[in-house]
Symmetry: D2
Subunit: 463 residues, 4 copies
């Protein structure tokens, strides 16, 4: 196989977004896969020796050889024999003495190695790369939420001004949602399973030479830090991987939602936040003045590309009998999903950590519709004082307010029918009717409690 | 709205597969939704009274009225005012005294009611209907696995005869996979959340009249048996529902895999199992002799229809700011997914509980390829005794065996080169080489341990 | 099967959105399916008689009986024999003389009837219902585009103000896109195919009694207005249906895009358009003042529900050998997709035909950023006059303009370095730099030409 | 950006399946994209010169520079300014004289270049690579179909033996289905569109310096062999690409179906066909005797990976106003889908061109169930002679036949009740009842006509 230059490739993850960073390459590249396969073969030999099925020296030889194997060698041998794991075994065998040769891959089937290597590297990737970047993003969100916990913002539903919140409160929603996704990724990654149960899962081969083949399986996998599938066919039960990828994809959805919100808050007419823009940065090849939310857009776009791939995992739940191989090529693409979330999280973290919050725009937008806000608290307070038709009354006042451009509060104060109820209101309640900016409920308090909760929780994760 | 006859409908779930059974209708129909919305409104009134915000008599009135509301009434009012929850509130208001009117729906926003009602009814559906039928299916699988735990079957990978297992072992795989899906459905259903946090999630309205609005929310939801979302916008955090539906969809995948396996085992050439066929049943409108696996096919087909709908849940994770309404219509279709899994599980359970296992076909199929099976144990045993190139040697013997139609075992016994290694084999090991039907590893033992484990676990679920 | 009331159903299409309107029910309900199956059986009998394989009187009897069959009868018989098309045949047979009985369904297999009935009713639905409502929507779009062809609007890319267009030009984009989708729906609907090729597609049964079974097939299907699949298994080639549903789904995407645009233009801060709001209409159960774009939101939400279902069609392309039945249940849901597009198109048409365009908001939004617009024409004009680095120069002027709040035009006019180039500009070109509202390119002209083109084209469709 | 070795990459398309073959790289790699962008810039300059907007020598300079640009240079410049097309323009500018600099990219916006380059390279890829390999596969299918046009095979529905066909007839189905997909790919590829309509589609910039900007657009695109979008925003109407990818994905579905059928026909119990197996090829790392249908499995698996990606295209139909950029990253992955179909088609072609058809297995399988086949022709013939209840009669005979192991034919001949009808049958009809292998309808004739039709049609495509 020729070695094309980077731009001769066709996957944007390879030529554009990835850049071969170690955080990804060490777990998700084909080289890393070969490394983890080697680790499996080394563990197997080690445990065979422990059971006196081969000499310790043989295990040591195999371990060393397994570590020395390169992807290039394996692919060359595969070219010849058309079977990738047998190619791996042969490559290791070439590097050991004749005495050691028989014990390479002994009693294992290809997918013992493949399933176990994938489980181990994805779990490592989650713990050592993915969760780290997600935690950094979580910290950034907490920081913004706390900084803006009291920054008044008009809450928006249906794209329409609704009731007041604070900008920190809006961000706190994401602190909570992202936090829980991180926990789920961690949980499902740490529950990925391997196997050493043979070609049809019944431990046919291992049982030939080992009495307690289930215990042996546990032992070999423990070397990789993973546990066995409760029962296997040729492959591990499919749901461990499906649950993990669901955690990843649904986490991606949270990132996409953050990005969409931020994009819209950056709309020219809203301008409440803005992506930082470099001095040399060009916004458009033709409109020199443009400053676009390209990073938020990129995250949303990556989500569009990767979200649908969950279907492939569901399709791969179905495998005929003790397995058909129609999940082989498709499962090779799972690392792409993981890399994409990593890259998008890193990008979003970097972008958010530098966003500019425009407080005058926040105030201007709030003020533009603040007169209408009074409709809800007015209706609720009137009802609580026994007005039998407060919602309808408030609705009509709001139409009138719109028409004659007078505030609902002012109209309500003049409204004879409302007088008996208005009199019963406390000073504090009247104050809210008069000053809608005070009608933020417990937005600030909630922001703080959510952020504090997650600051604690992520400490546990980091440890 | 006119009331069309059942066959004037367009959803197969309504006119064909559903049949209006109470197990589904009581939780997933539009009527049931109105019932649960009524429960929410009743709980709210009850808790308002508990806080002395309205008299007990008012709460009692509202509770009674909420229970009396019918879907027809609500839809009629909605026709007029174009808002379904305000229509519900109005309908309740019509049924209570003027004194009680102001307290109907007081401080709540529509999606306080909707999110909470959906969480409560889906959790109830899971616990009272769905998990029951899944447990029944699980029991059926356990029964088959235990009955067939020692029934020799050729394991198949790539559709090719591989190594021996037992039919019970093949089924035990599904015992384990389905069991874990049931646990996940239970867990995620019981973690569905409600809310009473107002239009933008900051408890703006409730805080006007209640000091501890978060505690109040907990109290109201406790009446429905659910907990609040840690933080809300207008709606509950989207991931609770996404996790639940992922559990449902991935469970569906297990059912589809079972069905596919059974379909293929019923192929004319394999005939190891068969769906029971009624005396009056017709297999084909033109081929009077056909006996088709139509129930297995139906389950697979339903999975094809419903699996892609997970994407809708992922799409609905994204909602702008404090919410846009583009998840409103789509979320109304979630009950269909739940109903479909229920129906498919019930169908599969019924079908499996009557399958006929054809032991002579199992034997015939096994025997047809049994000579080749020896290749694997021969290679493993030779290696374990130090043969440096056993895999290649066994591969060549298998080619020769195919060519000259002599068993691998017989060829190996005559092979001079192998003699030194063969001599080292135990009697038991030689026996396996000679009698491939003994080469089932720990299939039977594993079947029993998996089944016993899940028999225990489902007892806990049932309790 | 009991007949539940409408709200005991679980499909929103049945209990909420559909309302049993004839435009849908007559083609997409289960009753309509039975009607079309009856038409197939009648055509078959008619053509048998034409070939003298049965008397004309027998064909007449069967035709009459086929028309009289009700869904209820068929389902009752199916309950007994577990086969829906044999049930249909039996139901017809019960209504005819003993002489006619043998000729009912003679030589046909179930899926001859099913495939042909589905093709015929979907084609009729497309031509008689769906395309009509889509053409009405197209006319509404054309009307808006022409009305607003000269209404200045700021073009938006990345949510940021970009260059000027007209609102009519923005709408014309949809005139073109929707128009082409209508043509594709028409084309693919009219190319749906039927079959009368027997259980495995080789005309085994028909060839027993008819010499030219392919000609016979054409003849029978011509009665239903459709053509045969070039070659069949038990079913028609799957791609005809996949192409048709792709046309439908991609048309749905255009509607979703329109809806999204309109939702955003209705944002409080933008307010360029607004859904009409009824006098009695309630916007929120708690915020009496809200006026939400609920219809645009509904269309987007329906798209989210139905778009992923295209995957089911792709899954159903795969059918084993001469067919497995795993596409049977799933294909029953195709009518839902068609109904959903119909309903969304009707809703969007109604909503758009009453939108209010707010010209003062359009102007206000345009003016707010108009100073920056000059950057692009300045760069282009300077370049065209030979300035070697105009893009960078314009970019810097735009940064300065932002900083010192002076228009780019004014800065450019004072810029010594630019003087030699500015002097070469025509009066018209300078005018554009000064008055950005004139920088609309050919927006108006293009709007007119697109609208006129499609007004012509839809005439041809309507005919 | 560092240049990692091939196995440091994460996309299987890059490190495993692709192998950098020119048929893919020349159109789908990032390098190729830069080449096509350069072609666009060259065409633009050429047409500017033609309109006398710049000297011919300037256009020649730009053309030469555009051809000399490398991906590396562009990425380096993008690193600095964060905008890929401006980076391209700058890179070209660096290579030309000061006089030429202003005319590089003049009047164009980034997506004028991007949309046009993608349209041109995908169309070229379709015509010069993809369709070629698909036509080769089509020829292989035709060859097999013609070779096996008379090879008796039992038709299978529901995995059950149904009625007889020929193996060639089964393959002819794919000749027809694949043929039509090729035509659709060709049609939609040749209808991909470009644009030169500026940042918001209204030709704002080009109209500044060119009177007939639509004609100018046509001219520039004609140089690339493509036509303009009828109307654009910042981007071309999304449906051209969606239709093209639908053609590609639905073609992939046909390949997956072929592969599934072949896999199943290779099942150990069926063995009617077999993938060729190399002498050195290893089937399993542990089962030396295995010969697996790995190529058919691979094609199915690739389809599982790529089919769901159609959803991304549907998601990308939605772009806000004159465009948001959330389709930018996602659209970069479209080349992967195209490459995957190419690779799978090539693999399937190679595999099918060497399959071994096992005629003795075909005969054995047919014979095993041939007695039951008579049920259908018996029912049809009895009905055609006026038997009033032939289907039910035949069904019962088939049950009896199964029970007492006597052929249906023999039972029918002895059946007194049937005698009057049997007597009316022609000799030929009786012969079919007696010899089910003759009951193949027009399978052979149809095979020939389908193959001849497509042999003609593909000649036209090739030209």
């Amino acid at each position: 196989m020729a070695k094309p230059a980077i731009f001769d490739f066709i996957s944007p993850l390879d030529y554009r977004y990835y850049g071969s960073i170690p955080e990804i390459k060490d777990y998700l590249s084909e080289s890393s896969f070969i490394v983890y396969l080697g680790k499996f073969e080394a563990s197997l030999a080690k445990c065979l020796a422990r059971r006196k099925l081969c000499p310790d020296s043989v295990a040591a030889e195999i371990e060393k050889a397994s570590r020395a194997v390169s992807a290039e060698e394996v692919y060359e041998e595969e070219e010849r024999i058309r079977h990738n794991i047998r190619a791996l075994a042969n490559t290791i065998r070439k590097k050991v003495s004749d005495e050691a040769k028989p014990y390479v891959h002994l009693s294992a089937t290809s997918h013992d190695a493949i399933c176990s290597a994938d489980a181990a590297r994805f779990r490592d990737f989650a713990n050592k790369s993915l969760i780290k970047v997600l935690l950094s993003l979580e910290s950034t969100l907490i920081k913004i939420a706390m900084q803006e916990k009291a920054t008044l913002q008009i809450g928006r539903t249906h794209g329409q001004h609704a009731e007041p919140i604070t900008f920190g409160f809006a961000v706190a929603q994401y602190v909570s949602r992202l936090g829980k996704r991180i926990l789920l990724i961690q949980k499902t990654a740490n529950d990925l399973r391997g196997k050493l149960a043979g070609a049809v899962g019944a431990y046919n081969a291992p049982s030939l030479i080992i009495k307690d083949s289930e215990a042996f399986e546990e032992e070999v996998l423990a070397e990789l830090g993973i546990k066995p599938s409760p029962i296997s066919t040729q492959v591990v039960e499919a749901e461990y991987m499906a649950d993990f990828v669901h955690a990843v994809i649904s986490c991606f959805g949270v990132l996409a939602n953050i990005s969409d919100d931020m994009r819209h808050l950056q709309r020219s007419e809203i301008s409440e936040i803005r992506e930082q823009f470099g001095n040399d940065q060009v916004g458009s090849s033709t409109m020199p003045h443009k400053m676009n939310p390209i990073n938020f857009e990129n995250v949303k776009s990556m989500w569009k590309e990767f979200m649908p791939r969950m279907s492939t995992l569901y399709l791969d739940q179905i495998s005929e009998h003790q397995r058909d191989l129609t999940n082989s090529a498709s499962s090779r693409f799972v690392p792409e999903i993981l890399a994409a979330l990593y890259l998008s999280a890193a990008r979003l973290d970097k972008t958010l950590s530098k966003i500019e919050v425009n407080s005058s725009a926040l105030k201007k937008n709030f003020d533009s519709g603040k007169d209408m806000i009074t409709a809800e608290p007015l209706y609720v307070l009137l009802s609580s004082k026994g007005h039998p038709d407060a919602h309808e009354h408030a609705r009509k006042l709001s139409l009138k307010s719109r028409e004659i451009k007078e505030s609902i509060y002012s109209l309500a104060m003049k409204d004879k029918e409302l007088e008996p109820y208005m009199k019963k209101l406390t000073k504090e309640q009247l104050e809210i009717l008069k000053s809608p900016e005070k009608y933020t409920g417990i937005a600030e308090k909630k922001t703080v409690s959510i952020c504090e909760e997650w600051e604690e929780k992520i400490k546990d994760i980091s440890v």
